[in-house]
Subunit: 522 residues, 2 copies
C-alpha cells in the first residue's frame, strides 16, 4: 500500500459511506447532537464448522482509542467530501454539514464504557458502550467494529490454540498468510489471546516482544544447490548462532537425514560449551515424528532441547497430536508427558485468519436516544427473536458462584441495585419460561464488567500492558467452568437479563407490534 | 493502531524473523550476493468447503512495488535490530551484517517478473519471479507473500460473486468485518476482481472510486424512538437526498411497512421532479421479498428503481436467489429477467474474508541458484509429490486453442523455443503417463505470461489503472472454458510442463533420492 492510501483509509474516512450520509441527515434535522447510546456486542461465539468456541477473549480497546485519536476530519478529508457528487451533479455533502464535521466532530465528545482487553466475553453482552451525540456515535461505528471484531476473533482463536498446547509456548507464524496490514492487529490480538511470541518482526517490536524464528527450508536448499548438504547448512547455522541453534530437520528426510545431522551439530556445539536450543518439524506425521525424534535426541544425550512443531496447526490438530503422543510414545520408550513438556508450537494460517469462522458477528446497535433529558429505549424487532435488541441504557455484571466460577453474565438496566437484590433473578434473554433464581448463599460475588474509558471529554482509562491483559485473560479463563472451556461442544455460558430489563424488552416488543399492525393495516 | 505501530510493521520489518537470521548467515558465508531465483505461486485454487474455484484472479503487484519502495532498513530499523539479543545476551545481529543491511540492502537489486494484475492465474504457475541477491530475495519473501496472497484470494472471491450476479452491480460492504487495516488491500482486490464499488470511504477514495451507501436501520430507529415513524425517516432522507434516494425497507416489516412507505415517498419525489433510486432489502427471504417488492413497485409505476440485496450474501446465496426468482416470479406477475436486471448486490463478510477458505496457499520457493555464472536448479522433494517444486529458471506461457479459449498454461525452461515447437508437448506436472500433444493446427496462439517489472535496477513497468485491470480480468475470464468457470465442481484447467522441464525435474528427483539414500545409509 502507498503511504497515502493508508493515510486516507485509516483515519476519519475509515467508515462506510452511509454513516456520513446519515450524519448529514441528522445534521439537517437538528438531531446530530441528540444524545444516543450504541452497544457493541457480538451475537454468537465463533463456530469453526465441526467445533466452536464456548467463550471469546476481548481485544482491541487500545487500538480503538488510537483510531479515535486519528479520526479527525481535517482539510483534506473535508475537501474530498466536498467533491462527492449527487446523482444530478450537485454537492452530495453541503457546506453547512462539512463545516460542522470539520469543526465540531470530536470523538472525545462521546462517553465510552468498555470491557478491558483480555477479559473473557460472551454473546449479546455489551463490550463497548458509546453514549454521545448521534452523528458522532454513528460515524465511529465502522471503525470501532473493524477494530474490535477482528481482534476479538483472533484473540479467541489464540486462546483456544494456547489451551490445546497445555501451557506450552505458542508462536504466531501467520504474516505470510495474513490479510495485508491486518497482520499488525492480528499479531497484537494473538499476543493478547494466547500467543507467547510472533515471527512478525515489526509487529513484535511495536508491541514490545522479541520476534522468534530461525531458518527455512530454503537455507538447506541453498547449501544443497551449491553441492554441499544439509549437514553443512546446519553447521553454518550453528557457527553463526551457537547459542540460538534451532534446526529445521525436514528438508530432505526428517529421521534419516535431518535429526541425525542436527544431533551431530548439537554434539559439536556441546563440545564447544554451547547449549543447543532445538529442532523444528514442519511436515509429515508430527506426532509420530516428534516421538521418534525425541527418542533419537534422548539417546544422543539431548533430552531437553525443544521440539518445535509447525505446518497447518490449529487447536484440533494439536489436540490430536498430543492424544497420539500419549497413546504411542511409550511403545518407543519415550515418556509422553516429558515429550509434551518439550514441545513448542508455531501456528500460522489458522490463527491469523481464524480458519473455519473468519469473522466475528459483532454489531453496534442504537439502543437508546435522549429526548428532553429523558432516555428512550429503542428497539429493532427482528423476525429472528434472538436478534431482537436488548434495549436501553444498561449495566453488565458477572456473577460468581460459591466455587469461585463465573456462573452467568447479567445485563440490567442502569440504576438497578443488583448487589443487594436477593434472590437474584436471571431471565433467559428470549425464552419466557427459562429463569434462574440465585439466593445470596449461592453467590460468591458480583462484579461490574464495564469500566469508564472516555468520560466528559477526558480519557479516564490507562491501557494496561499486553502482559497485564494476558494475566486478565488467564484469570478469567480460570474462572470458567471446564465445560465452557471445552474445545468441542462447549457448555453454553448463561447470559441473562434482569427481570426489569426483561419486562422493558417485552413491553417494547408489544408496543412496536401494536403500532406496526396499525400502520400496516393488519 | 498507533501511527508508530503501523510504521514499524509495514516497512522493511514487515518480515519474519527467520528471514533476517538466514540473511545474516548468508552474509557471514559470503553467499548474500549470490544470485538466486525464487518463484511465487499458489498450490491450489481456493476450496470453500462444498464449492471451489476453478481459477484465480491475480492482484497485488502494484502494492508489492509500493512495499518494496518502503522496505528500507533506515537508522531506526538498524538500531532496533542491533538491540536484539541472543540467548546468552550478546548481539543477535552483528555490526558487519547490519552495516550491509543499512547500506547495501536495496530492493531494486532484484529483477522482478510478474503476471499483470487482473489476469486469470492457475495453481503452480509462477505469478511473481524474483531473481536477485540471495539475502535480498530471502528478506522480501514475507512482504511479497503477505501482499499477493490476500489480494489474489479476495480478487478471486469477488470474481466469483460478480459472476453469480450475471453482470449486475456488486458493492463491497465488508469494512466492519474486515481484518483491521487489511480492509485497504481487501477493498482494492475486490475492486480489481469484480466489485464495482465499495462502501469504504477512505479506500474508495484512495483507489479512485466513489463510495456507495445510503442509510442503516439505526436511522429508522432514531425516528421511531422519537415518536415518529418509518415514513418520517424516509421523508427526511428524501428531503436531504432527493436525487439519491435509496431506502432500506426492512426495519419494521418489509412488505407491510417498508415498501409501502418507500412508494409513498417515491411518489412525492416524482411529483417534485426527482427520480427515486431504489430500495434495499437486508433480511428475510431475499428472493421472495424481491419478487413481491418488485410487484409493488411495478404496480405503483416504479418499474425501474433498483432493488439492492444485502445480508450474508456470497456466490452460492446469490445463485440460489436468482434460481428462485426464475422459478417463482411469474406466479406473481413479475418478469424474472427484468427483475434480475434491476438487482444490485451488497456483499460484506463473505467477500472481505473469503469465508470458507480465508487464506490462499501461496508460497515463495527457491528454485535456482547461480554458481560461477551458471544457474543450478534447486529442488525440495516433498513426500507429497504434488508439492515437489518445479525447479530452475522458467518461462510461463498460455496456449489458446482454435475456439480462442485458453486450453493450458505451460511452464518451460528459459530458452525453449515454444513458439516454433510442433507438435507442442504438454506433460502433466507429476504423472508420467499423462501427456497431451498439440499440433500447430490445434493452436490459435501462444502467449507469454510474465512481464518484466524491475530489471537491472530500474522499474520498467507502469502499473495499469484498476479500470484496466478489470478489463484484463474480463478478457481472461471470457477466454476460460465454461466448465472452468463453473462455481460448483469446476473442470480442472491444465497446467503443464514442457518435456524438457519434466525431464530436468525427474533427473533432479532421482539425483536427490540417490544422494539422500547414501547420506542416510539406506
Amino acid at each position: 500500500m502507498k503511504p497515502d492510501e493508508i493515510k486516507w483509509a485509516s483515519g476519519a474516512l475509515m467508515t462506510d459511506q452511509y454513516q456520513l450520509t446519515m450524519a448529514q441527515l441528522y445534521y439537517r434535522m437538528g438531531l446530530h447532537e441528540t444524545m444516543a447510546q450504541f452497544d457493541h456486542f457480538y451475537r454468537s461465539n465463533p463456530d469453526y464448522g465441526f467445533h466452536k468456541a464456548g467463550y471469546c477473549v476481548n481485544a482491541g480497546l487500545e487500538s480503538i482509542l488510537d483510531w479515535l485519536d486519528q479520526a479527525v476530519f481535517g482539510p483534506a478529508e473535508i475537501e474530498y467530501l466536498r467533491s462527492q457528487k449527487s446523482a444530478t451533479g450537485g454537492q452530495l455533502f453541503g457546506d453547512d454539514f462539512l463545516r460542522w464535521l470539520g469543526h465540531d466532530f470530536d470523538t472525545k465528545a462521546i462517553n465510552l464504557f468498555a470491557m478491558p482487553e483480555g477479559r473473557v466475553v460472551h454473546p449479546n453482552v455489551p463490550i463497548h458502550v458509546v453514549e454521545g451525540p448521534l452523528a458522532i456515535g454513528q460515524i465511529i461505528e465502522t471503525g470501532l467494529l473493524n477494530t474490535a471484531n477482528y481482534q476479538i476473533l483472533i484473540a479467541t482463536k489464540a486462546a483456544r490454540i494456547k489451551q490445546s498446547t497445555r501451557g506450552q509456548v505458542l508462536m504466531e507464524f501467520g504474516l505470510r498468510r495474513a490479510q495485508s496490514l491486518g497482520a499488525i492487529a492480528g499479531t497484537r490480538a494473538a499476543l493478547i489471546g494466547g500467543a507467547d511470541f510472533s515471527s512478525n518482526v515489526g509487529a513484535s517490536h511495536a508491541f514490545g516482544f522479541p520476534p522468534k524464528g530461525t531458518h527455512a527450508h530454503s537455507m538447506v536448499q541453498v547449501f544443497m544447490g551449491l553441492g554441499e548438504g544439509e549437514l553443512a547448512a546446519f553447521r553454518a547455522y550453528a557457527d553463526v548462532y551457537p547459542d540460538d541453534c534451532m534446526l529445521l530437520v525436514d528438508t530432505i528426510d526428517t529421521l534419516q537425514s535431518g535429526v541425525p545431522n542436527a544431533i551431530r551439530v548439537f554434539e559439536e556445539l556441546k563440545r564447544k560449551g554451547h547449549r543447543p536450543v532445538g529442532i523444528r518439524l514442519d511436515s509429515g506425521d508430527l506426532a509420530h515424528l516428534s516421538i521418534l525424534a525425541a527418542k533419537m535426541l534422548n539417546d544422543a544425550g539431548f533430552p531437553d532441547v525443544s521440539i518445535v512443531l509447525s505446518n497447518d496447526l490449529d487447536e484440533l490438530v494439536i489436540w490430536q497430536i498430543l492424544t497420539q503422543i500419549q497413546e504411542e510414545a511409550e511403545r518407543y520408550g519415550v515418556d509422553p508427558e516429558k515429550l509434551i513438556k518439550r514441545l513448542v508450537y508455531g501456528v500460522g494460517t489458522h490463527l491469523i485468519t481464524s480458519t473455519g469462522d473468519p469473522a466475528l458477528d459483532g454489531v453496534y446497535k442504537l439502543v437508546a436516544i435522549c429526548q428532553d433529558g429523558k432516555w428512550i429505549p429503542t428497539l429493532k424487532i427482528s423476525e429472528n427473536v434472538d436478534k431482537t435488541l436488548n434495549p436501553g441504557n444498561k449495566r453488565v455484571w458477572r456473577v460468581y458462584d460459591q466455587r469461585g466460577k463465573a456462573t452467568a453474565d447479567l445485563i440490567t438496566l442502569q440504576g438497578e441495585d443488583i448487589l443487594n437484590q436477593s434472590p437474584l433473578e436471571l431471565r433467559h434473554p428470549t425464552m419466557a419460561t427459562k429463569r434462574r433464581s440465585l439466593c445470596r448463599e449461592e453467590i460468591d460475588h458480583v462484579e461490574k464488567l464495564l469500566v469508564p474509558v472516555i468520560l466528559d471529554g477526558e480519557k479516564v482509562y490507562e491501557s494496561p500492558t499486553i502482559e497485564q491483559m494476558r494475566e486478565t485473560r488467564q484469570k478469567d479463563i480460570d474462572h470458567l467452568d471446564p465445560g465452557v472451556l471445552r474445545i468441542m461442544n462447549p457448555h453454553i455460558y448463561h447470559v441473562s437479563l434482569s427481570a426489569k430489563l426483561w419486562d422493558l424488552k417485552q413491553s417494547l416488543i408489544k408496543k412496536a407490534r401494536d403500532e406496526n399492525s396499525v400502520e400496516g393495516g393488519m
